[in-house]
C-alpha cells in the first residue's frame, strides 16, 4: 500500500471518483489550473479536462448554488470552498436549498453534492482562516457532516460522500494535511509517513458514513473527538499513561451513537473535545446524548474541552487552541485524580 498525506489521499479519492463516474465534476476557486491552494486537485484538470475540473470566479454563493442545480439535474458535483471560513456567502444556498430540496419535493429531487472545505486552526490563520463551523451544519436537518482525521479515512469517506445521494459537508482539518498534528506546536512537524493510517489502499474503496472508529481502546474514560483533536487526545492520553478510550467520530451526522454509548457505558466517564467554540458547539450535542443514553453509567459530569468563546485569534493562537494540557486537565477532572 502507498503511504499518502491527507492531501494525496483526497486527490486520489477525487481521481478515483472521476474515473468511475463521468457525472463527477470538481471545481472551486483556483481548483483547476492551479490545482487548489492546498494542492488537493493538482493534476485533475490535466487528466480529466477543463469541463470536469475547473476554476470558478470568487463567488461562493454562486458556486454552491450552481452545484445544487447540477446535482438536482443529476450530476455529482464535488466542489471546494477554499477555506471553511469563506462558506458563509453560500450558507443560504446550503441551508435553504441543498438541505431542503429532498423534503420539499417529497423526494422527487435531491442534491447529491459534496462540499469540501479545509477547516480548523493551528496554521496561524487568524479569524478568517481557522474556524471550525461544523455545528452550523449539524444543526441543519438535511445535511451530512464528515470530518476525517487521517489519509485512509479521508479517501474512503470522500468516496462515500461523493456517492451519497444527499448533500455532504466534508470538513478537512487543514492542520492534518501534512502530518498527524498532536497539538505540540513547539515540536518539529511529524509527517504522515510511518503512520499506520497513512497506508492508503489503491483504487476504489469506501468508508461508510456514520461509523466511528476506536483509535485506542481503554477502560478508564472515553474521549470523544474528531479531526485534529483525535491526535491531540491520543498524544495526551499516551503521555499521561491514562487508560482512556479515544473514539474518532469521523462523521458527525449521521452519528455513531451506538459506538459512543457502548464506550461510555463501559468507562463511566467522558470527555468531549473539539476546536470550535464552546457555546452551542457540537460538544453540547454529544454531552446531551451521553447524558440521555448513559446517565446511569456516568461516574462524573461530562467534560468539554473546546476553543474559547472568542473569535479565533491572530496573536494568541496557542492560548486558544485546546491543546494537550487542556485535554489532560479535563481527563484529570472526570477521573477525579
Amino acid at each position: 500500500m502507498a503511504t499518502m498525506t491527507m492531501i494525496e489521499a483526497i486527490r486520489d479519492a477525487l481521481d478515483v471518483a472521476m474515473g468511475r463516474d463521468d457525472d463527477v465534476v470538481v471545481f472551486g476557486e483556483d481548483v483547476g489550473y492551479f490545482g487548489g491552494v492546498f494542492r488537493c486537485t493538482q493534476g485533475l484538470q490535466a487528466k480529466y479536462g477543463k469541463t470536469r475540473c475547473f476554476d470558478t470566479p470568487i463567488n461562493e454563493s454562486g458556486i454552491v448554488g450552481t452545484a445544487i442545480g447540477m446535482a438536482a439535474y443529476g450530476l455529482r458535483p464535488c466542489l471546494e470552498i477554499q477555506f471553511a471560513d469563506y462558506v458563509y456567502p453560500a450558507y443560504d444556498q446550503i441551508v435553504s436549498e441543498a438541505a431542503r430540496l429532498r423534503h420539499r419535493s417529497n423526494g422527487d429531487f435531491t442534491a447529491p453534492l459534496t462540499i469540501r472545505m479545509p477547516t480548523g486552526g493551528g496554521i496561524f490563520g487568524g479569524q478568517t482562516h481557522s474556524q471550525s463551523p461544523e455545528a452550523l451544519f449539524t444543526h441543519v436537518a438535511g445535511l451530512k457532516t464528515v470530518v476525517p482525521s487521517n489519509p485512509r479515512d479521508a479517501k474512503g469517506l470522500l468516496l462515500a460522500a461523493i456517492e451519497d445521494d444527499d448533500p455532504v459537508i466534508f470538513l478537512e482539518p487543514k492542520r492534518l494535511y501534512n502530518g498527524p498534528f498532536d497539538g505540540h506546536h513547539e515540536r518539529a512537524v511529524t509527517p504522515w509517513a510511518g503512520h499506520p493510517l497513512a497506508e492508503v489502499p489503491a483504487g476504489y474503496y469506501s468508508e461508510p458514513l456514520g461509523r466511528a472508529a476506536i483509535r485506542r481502546p481503554g477502560a478508564a474514560a472515553t474521549v470523544l473527538a474528531y479531526g485534529t483533536m483525535v491526535h491531540v487526545a491520543l498524544a495526551d492520553v499516551a503521555a499521561r499513561g491514562i487508560d482512556a478510550e479515544v473514539v474518532d467520530l469521523r462523521t458527525l451526522l449521521p452519528l455513531d451513537l451506538d459506538c459512543i454509548a457502548a464506550s461510555v457505558r463501559k468507562t463511566g466517564r467522558c470527555v468531549v473535545v473539539h476546536e470550535a467554540t464552546l457555546t452551542s458547539g457540537f460538544g453540547a450535542e454529544l454531552a446531551a446524548l451521553v447524558q440521555e443514553h448513559c446517565f446511569f453509567h456516568l461516574e462524573a459530569p461530562v467534560a468539554r474541552v473546546t476553543g474559547w468563546d472568542t473569535p479565533y485569534p491572530h496573536a494568541q493562537e496557542w492560548d486558544y487552541f485546546p491543546g494537550p494540557a487542556r485535554v489532560g486537565e479535563a481527563l484529570a477532572a472526570v477521573l477525579e485524580i
Binding site: Y33, P89, G126, H129, P313, H314, A315
Partner: protein, 336 residues
Amino acid sequence: MARTRRKRKLDEPKPVPATEELLKYYNDMLMIRRFEEKAGQLYGMGLIGGFCHLYIGQEAVVVGMQAAIGEGDAVITSYRDHGHMLACGMAPKGVMAELTGRSGGYSKGKGGSMHMFSREQSFFGGHGIVGAQVPLGTGIAFGLKYRETDRVCLTYFGDGSANQGQVYESFNMAELWKLPVIYIIENNQYAMGTSVQRSSAQTELFRRGESFGIPGEQVDGMDVLAVKAAGEEAVAWARSGRGPYILEMKTYRYRGHSMSDPAKYRTKEEVQRVRSERDPIDRMREFLVTGAHSDEVALKAVDRDIKKAVTEAAEFAQNSPEPATSELYTDILLEA
C-alpha cells in the same frame, strides 16, 4: 442617461500638481514600498506569521486616490491593506506591530495583517473576506449622505472580488440611492493564481456598472498622476450628489498573492517587464528629475528618511510586548 464610460487614454494630458505635492506622492509611494519590503523580511525571519499580502507594485493607486480626497472622506478596503493604512496617515509603527501581533498594534494583535482600523483617519478597515467590504463601503456612503456631509467613501476591491454577488447588490443600491461611493477596482490581473481572463466574462471591469447606470473609467493605475486626475473627477461626481462611480485601476502586484505563493501562474519575464517598464515609483522619480522638480541628491535624502522610519517601525514591532492572554476575551461584546 448614464455618463459615457471610457478608457482614459494613456497619454491624456493631466494637470501637473505643485512640486511639493509631487514630492509627497513620491515619498508616500516609496514609504509603502519600503514598509512592505521590510514586512516581507520580517515574515521571512518568522517575526510575522500567518497571512500577509504585500502591496508592492500597486502604490500609485492608493497614493493617487488619497490625493483626490480630503479630511472626513472615508476609506475601506480588503486584506491587501498596508498601503491604504499608511496612505491614510496611520502610523507605520502601529501597522508593523499589528503584523507581528503585538500589543502596540492597531488592533492589539487581535486583527493581524488583514484587519486594522482607525476611526481617527476615517479608515474603516482591511477585511479578510473577499468582497465583504463592498456593501460596507456602500453603507458608509449612506451614512455620509444621511448626515448631509459632502464627503465620499472610497471602496477598494480587487479584480477577483469583483465577481462576488454582493458587489452587484451594492452597485444597485448605491445608484438607486445615489450614494457618494467610489468603487475602486484594483485590477492587478490576478486573484491568487487565477487570471482575470479565466474568471471573468467581462474583463473590462470598469464596465461592470453599466446596467445600473454607474459611470466607469479605466485608469493607468501605475501612474499616480493619472490616478489622481481620474480620482478627482470621480470624487467631484459623487460629492455633487450624482451617485457612485467606478474606477478600474490597471495595476500589477510584483510579489506573490500572500507570502506562500508558488507563482506558477505567470512568468518571471511578465513580472520583470512590468517592473522595468511601468514601475510607479521609477516613473515618478524620472518625472521629478527630468522636470527639474527635484534631483538625485534630494531624492536620496527622501529615501534615507523613509528607511529610518521603517527601521524604527520594525524595531517597535519587535519590542512591543505580546498581548496578555486576557486580551482574547476583550472586545467581543461591550459587556459579555
